[in-house]
C-alpha cells in the first residue's frame, strides 16, 4: 500500500495536482478513488509502475493529455489482449498433444510465427 504523498515525493516531475487529475482521468485508479480526499487513496505497485510509465512516455514523446489518453487506451487494450492470449495459450498447453496438434492444423496459414 502506497500513499498519495509517497508517489508525489518519489517522482519530482510529478506534482499533486497532476496526480489528482490523472486519477480523475482514470489513467490511475487507486483504491477508494471515489473518495474526495486524495489522502485516502491507496495505491499499489501496479499504480506506481503506471505513473512511471506515463511519466516516461510524456518525457520521451512530449505528449499532450489528449494524446496520452489515446496511447493509454491502446496500451490497455494490448495488455488485455496479451493477457487473454496468455490464458488461452496456457489452456492449450495443458491439452494432450493430439489436441494441440489439431489446433495447430486448424490455424489458418500465414498466422503462424516463423521459427
Amino acid at each position: 500500500m502506497i500513499a498519495f504523498r509517497e508517489i508525489v515525493e518519489r517522482f519530482t516531475e510529478l506534482d499533486a495536482g497532476e496526480l489528482t487529475r490523472w486519477v480523475e482521468n482514470r489513467w490511475i485508479v487507486p483504491e477508494a478513488e471515489d473518495s474526495e480526499a486524495a489522502e485516502r487513496w491507496i495505491f499499489h505497485e501496479v499504480d506506481v509502475a503506471r505513473v512511471e510509465l506515463i511519466l516516461d512516455i510524456r518525457r520521451e514523446f512530449a505528449l499532450d493529455e489528449e494524446t496520452m489518453s489515446l496511447v493509454l487506451g491502446l496500451l490497455d487494450q494490448v495488455y488485455s489482449l496479451r493477457r487473454q492470449m496468455r490464458r488461452l495459450c496456457h489452456a492449450l498447453e495443458n491439452q494432450p498433444p493430439e489436441i494441440r496438434d489439431a489446433i495447430r492444423r486448424a490455424l489458418p496459414p500465414g498466422t503462424q510465427k516463423p521459427g
Binding site: 519530482t12 506534482d15 506506481v48 511519466l55 495488455y79 490464458r87 489436441i99
Partner: protein, 326 residues
C-alpha cells in the same frame, strides 16, 4: 514512510536553480557543521544528510536521475517499475477494458477476437469494424480409455463409460474389437466455439485378458484339461465358449496336445453384409492329478511290462510338447 526528499532537507523547491541550491546548502552547512556544534550528535547527523542532499542535487546528472525516480535520496538505484509485469500481473486487470473473462464463458473470448472487438470500458478505445465473420472452431476431441472384458470384446456389446462425473455414455462395442483400438464417437467431445461443431470422443479400448480364452484373429484358443480316463476311453465333456457352454466329444485315445475344433464358435462379425465367424480350438491336456493313486500305480506297473514305449524316440530338436503345457 518515505524519507525526507533532498529538496526538503535543503528547504528548497523542486524547481530551484543550482544557485539557489548552493546558497541553501551553504547556509545550512554553516549552521549544522560539527565543528560549530561540538557534542551535538543530532547536528552531526543533520549535517550529513545536508551534505548528501547537496551532493545529489548539485550534480545535474544525479539530480535528473533522482527527479525521474531512477535513484533514491541516498543515490541508490531504485528498482525500475517496469509496467509490463504489473499490467500482466494479478492487479493489472483493473486497467484493461475487457476485465477478466470467465473461463466457462469462452464465447466471450472468441467474441473479443472475432465478432466486434472490445466492449468498451474506461478509456474507450477503438472498435474493430463489425460484420466480420464470426470465429468458428470445432470443439476439441476428448480422450478416454475404456477397459472391457475379453468376452465383450469378442462378441460386442455395450459398456458404460464415464465422460465426466455427471455424464455417462453407453459405448457400443463392435464384435471382435482388438486391444488398443480407438473408437471415435462423433460429437461427444468438447463443445464447438462460435457455433462450430462439437469435437469427438476418442475412446482407446483395452481388452482385459481372459483366464482361459486366447485370441488369434477371429479364432479362440483354449486349453482343456481332461482326465486320464477321458483321454483313454473318450468322453463327452462341457466346454466353455464365448456364447456359453457346449458339449464336446473327446475321441477315444486322445493325447495331450490334440487339438479339437468347434466350428463357428469363434468371433462372429459382419463384413460388408456377410457374416463371418472364427472357430474355437481346444487343445487337450491330460491331467492325472487326483487319480494318480496307489491303485493306478500298481495297474500301470503291470501294464507297462507288456507295453514298452518310448515317447521320446523322435525327440531330436524340438521340445514343443513340453512348452505347450506351460
Amino acid at each position: 514512510m518515505a524519507a525526507q526528499t533532498p529538496y526538503e532537507v535543503l528547504g528548497v523547491k523542486k524547481d530551484s536553480s543550482p544557485d539557489e541550491i548552493r546558497k541553501a546548502y551553504r547556509k545550512l552547512a554553516k549552521q549544522f557543521h560539527p565543528d560549530l556544534n561540538p557534542g551535538k550528535p543530532e547536528a552531526e547527523a543533520r549535517f550529513k544528510s545536508i551534505s548528501a542532499a547537496h551532493d545529489l542535487l548539485s550534480d545535474p546528472e544525479k539530480r535528473g536521475r533522482y527527479d525521474r525516480g531512477e535513484i533514491d535520496e541516498s543515490g541508490v538505484e531504485r528498482p525500475r517499475y517496469s509496467y509490463r509485469p504489473h499490467a500482466e500481473g494479478a492487479q493489472g486487470w483493473k486497467y484493461q477494458p475487457e476485465g477478466e473473462i470467465d473461463p466457462a464463458d469462452l464465447d466471450d473470448l472468441f467474441a473479443m477476437f472475432g465478432r466486434g472487438g472490445p466492449r468498451g470500458g474506461p478509456g474507450g478505445g477503438f472498435r474493430s469494424a463489425r460484420g466480420g465473420e464470426g470465429f468458428q472452431m470445432p470443439g476439441p476431441d476428448r480422450q478416454f480409455a475404456l477397459t472391457i472384458d475379453f468376452v465383450t470384446a469378442a462378441t460386442g456389446g455395450k459398456q458404460r463409460l464415464a465422460l465426466s462425473p455427471e455424464e455417462w455414455l453407453d459405448v457400443t462395442i463392435p464384435p471382435g474389437i482388438e486391444d488398443g483400438q480407438v473408437l471415435r464417437l462423433k460429437g461427444k467431445g468438447g463443445p464447438g466455439f462460435g457455433g462450430g461443431p462439437a469435437g469427438d470422443a476418442l475412446i482407446e479400448v483395452h481388452v482385459a485378458p481372459h483366464p482361459w480364452f486366447r485370441r488369434e484373429g477371429d479364432d479362440i484358443h483354449m486349453e482343456l484339461p481332461v482326465s486320464l480316463a477321458e483321454a483313454v476311453l473318450g468322453a463327452r465333456v462341457p466346454v466353455a465358449t464365448l456364447t456359453g457352454p457346449v458339449t464336446m466329444t473327446i475321441p477315444k485315445g486322445s493325447d495331450t496336445g490334440a487339438q479339437l475344433r468347434l466350428r463357428g464358435k469363434g468371433i462372429r462379425r459382419k463384413r460388408r453384409g456377410t457374416e463371418t465367424a472364427g472357430d474355437q480350438y481346444v487343445t487337450l491336456k491330460v491331467v492325472i492329478g487326483d487319480s494318480g493313486d496307489e491303485e493306478l500305480a500298481k495297474f500301470v506297473e503291470e501294464w507297462a511290462k507288456t507295453h514298452p514305449s518310448d515317447p521320446r524316440r523322435d525327440l531330436g530338436q524340438g521340445t514343443t510338447q513340453g512348452a505347450a503345457a506351460a
